[in-house]
């Protein structure tokens, strides 16, 4: 293939000769000047003098909607429309999950409108399809989530093919296929394939294996839940303490602000899918918060941040504080900082945390982060977006509890209500998700998929219970699950009991057990047997059953406990059943 500079020379040399003139208009939402040059050059090579009209930057809609626009004036034979995946991604970022699921449809409607416009009936429309950009918000799980960017881009490319069958004048320029071809030069080695039967290049194997294990780990409950951000030169360009509110680089105006704006859009999408966003910054708190409150180009707002630590303590101390407030493992946290010194200090002191080696150039941040696929997941529910709110509320609760000297008074003051329900098609995704996420308060750590939960719900012998918890500060949503299976006619075995650590120390365990006994009794059982299977993370519930009045069963290979239902006295709690 000729280079762009070779094409430029060809245009200069050849354009005067008597080539056939073809009128082409190019309408795009990105900088397309050099693409126009290349088209004219290749045109000459193929024997055409391309009379090319290039619409003003980013005016696709206007050019088509306005019948007096330059596009219609120019009266081209061929109209090339190049709407970029990047701009589509920006639009995707600005929508709610429901709107995101409609993104492809919205764009397809626009293309259909162009193609069916009578003024353009005699024109050939050459429409660029969309090379994929996996934003790794869901990892491979994006394939299961209709609102994900990957899902919408693939749907769009597929439906564009169908649209081109419907409209005679629509031709798809397959630059998605072109990106695949250029990528395949790395993924595939023809000489190796010919002499073996290997369709993946040796260099691609570790990447492919890594995606496989991303999925396995996510299903086993090892995935990232929290992203901790440094601020200066990570979230915005420059140093807020030195450069001031007007001096930091953000948005499409100053310096490389665009890189930081797009980075923030990515963080915001992570937040909307349930990743907890925190800040750890060496700054005065007031100074650090100022851009969040006042800078017009900040995508992230204070509302998006669950825990905001800005002070002159070390990053290590601040990350430890965040960990204590959130009560999740360090291994489920990612820390992003542009400063290699800070990164190393955090790595040395908190080995479990993931600290990506951010590239020096902020322009490279996103593509680098995409390559890591940090946020693979095995479940998603549309309630995930509320998680940040719940942690912010938790911080309020913590401060209220300090004003009560008596724990019971504090618990009463919370006005707690719990909805108890079996598994339904509405709560199945959340139940499955919690079974994958819960590590600490989880007695047997059995992981369930949506399909598993559905099967349990349909099994009449299984006693399945889910619990929500709401208090005067807000709704925690579904936070606890119990699955009991008959061991014999008189005995129920607790296959699963887990609870979100967000609701520890509220008497939820007592409420749960009261409910379990009530259900078991109604079904005619005499005993409940519980079992504790230790993992590296669930030491918290080692004494769970003995603490609730179960008796240790002697002589079993695992730790098992039994409760006599007849003798059971309901345990004290301040939660009202709804």
């Amino acid at each position: 293939m000729l280079t762009l500079s070779q094409l430029k020379k060809i245009i200069k040399e050849e354009i005067k000769s008597n080539l056939l003139i073809v009128k082409v208009a190019l309408v795009g939402d990105s900088a397309t000047q050099l693409l126009c040059t290349a088209i004219r050059g290749i045109g000459v090579l193929r024997g055409y003098n391309i009379d090319l009209f290039e619409a003003e930057y980013n005016q696709v809609e206007r050019q088509f909607m306005d019948p007096t626009s330059d596009l219609y004036q120019f009266d081209a034979d061929y109209i090339v429309v190049f709407q970029s995946t990047h701009k589509l991604g920006e639009r995707h970022s600005s929508l709610t999950a429901e709107q995101q699921a409609n993104l492809a449809e919205e764009r397809l409607q626009f293309v259909a409108d162009i193609c069916s416009n009578p003024a353009l009936a005699s024109k050939k429309i050459i429409y660029f399809n969309y090379p994929e950009i996996d934003d790794t918000i869901f990892g491979c799980y994006a394939n299961k989530v209709e609102s994900s960017f990957t899902y919408q881009v693939r749907k769009l490319n597929y439906e564009l093919m169908r649209l081109s069958q419907q409209f005679q004048n629509l031709f798809i320029c397959d630059i998605a296929g072109l990106q695949n071809k250029l990528g395949r030069d790395h993924m595939f080695a023809a000489n190796v394939y010919t002499s073996t039967e290997m369709v993946l290049s040796i260099d691609a194997l570790p990447y492919v294996a890594s995606r496989v294990m991303d999925i396995v780990c996510a299903i086993k409950g090892q995935f990232k839940k929290c992203l901790i951000l440094d601020l200066d030169n990570t979230v915005w360009g420059g140093v807020i303490g030195d450069d001031g509110l007007e001096g930091i680089q953000l948005g499409h105006g100053l310096g490389i602000g665009k890189a930081f704006t797009e980075f923030q859009m990515w963080v915001k999408k992570l937040k909307q899918r349930g990743i907890i966003i925190c800040v750890a910054s060496k700054n005065n708190e007031e100074t650090a918060k100022e851009p969040f409150e006042k800078h017009p180009d900040m995508v992230l707002k204070l509302d998006d941040i669950a825990v905001f630590q800005a002070n002159w303590e070390t990053k290590v101390d601040n990350i430890r504080t965040i960990q204590q407030i959130l009560n999740i493992g360090f291994d489920s946290m990612v820390f992003l900082d542009d400063n290699p010194f800070e990164r190393n200090m955090v790595r040395e002191n908190i080995p479990a945390i993931t600290v990506p080696e951010l590239p020096e150039d902020p322009a490279e941040y996103l593509e680098y982060l995409y390559s890591l696929n940090l946020f693979e997941t095995a479940s998603y529910s549309n309630l995930d977006k509320d998680r940040t709110k719940q942690y912010q509320v938790e911080a309020q609760r913590v401060s209220l509890s300090k004003t009560f000297t008596n724990e019971a008074d504090f618990l009463k003051s919370l006005n707690m209500v719990s909805v108890v329900s079996g598994f339904t098609k509405f709560n199945t995704p959340r139940v499955a998700q919690l079974s994958q996420r819960s590590n600490q308060f989880n007695l047997r750590t059995v992981r369930y998929t949506d399909a598993d939960i559905e099967a349990l719900a349909n099994d009449p012998s299984v006693l399945d219970l889910s619990f929500t918890l709401e208090d005067k500060f807000g709704d925690n949503g579904l936070i606890a699950v119990v699955i009991m299976k008959p061991q014999d006619k008189e005995t129920l075995f607790v296959d699963t009991w887990f609870m979100s650590c967000r609701v520890l120390k509220r008497g939820m365990e007592n409420f749960t057990l009261n409910t379990m006994v009530e259900k078991a009794k109604a079904a005619g059982y005499k005993h409940i047997i519980g079992e504790y299977l230790p993992t590296p993370k669930n030491k918290m519930v080692e004494q769970h059953y003995s603490g609730l009045g179960f008796t240790t069963i002697e002589g079993t290979s695992t730790a098992q406990f039994v409760l006599d239902i007849e003798a059971y006295q309901p345990r004290e709690c301040y939660i009202v059943k709804k």
């Binding site: 000489n191 190796v192 010919t194 002499s195 073996t196 290049s201 040796i202």
Partner: protein, 78 residues
């Protein structure tokens, strides 16, 4: 590059890829002489050699080699 130097480099690659520091190869060495050198590790050797010498073998060449010497000649010719 002279063939002895290539042989020395290739030997290093063999040791690294096959994970055996004791491997000694010469121009007459064939796959049967080296225990770890099977069809799968062969592909890894090829890719490592291609990277090291910044060359590309075609599939016909890969099929035709009988000895390390054939391989070295092929590298030297690139």
């Amino acid at each position: 590059m002279d063939t002895n130097q290539i042989l020395a480099d290739v030997q290093e690659i063999f040791r690294d890829v096959l994970d055996n520091e004791d491997i000694e190869i010469n121009f007459e060495t064939v796959a049967d002489d080296v225990e770890e050198w099977d069809s799968l590790s062969h592909i890894q050797l090829i890719v490592a050699i291609e990277k090291h010498f910044k060359i590309k073998f075609n599939s016909k060449e890969l099929m035709e080699w009988k000895t390390v010497g054939d391989m070295i000649d092929c590298i030297a010719a690139k």
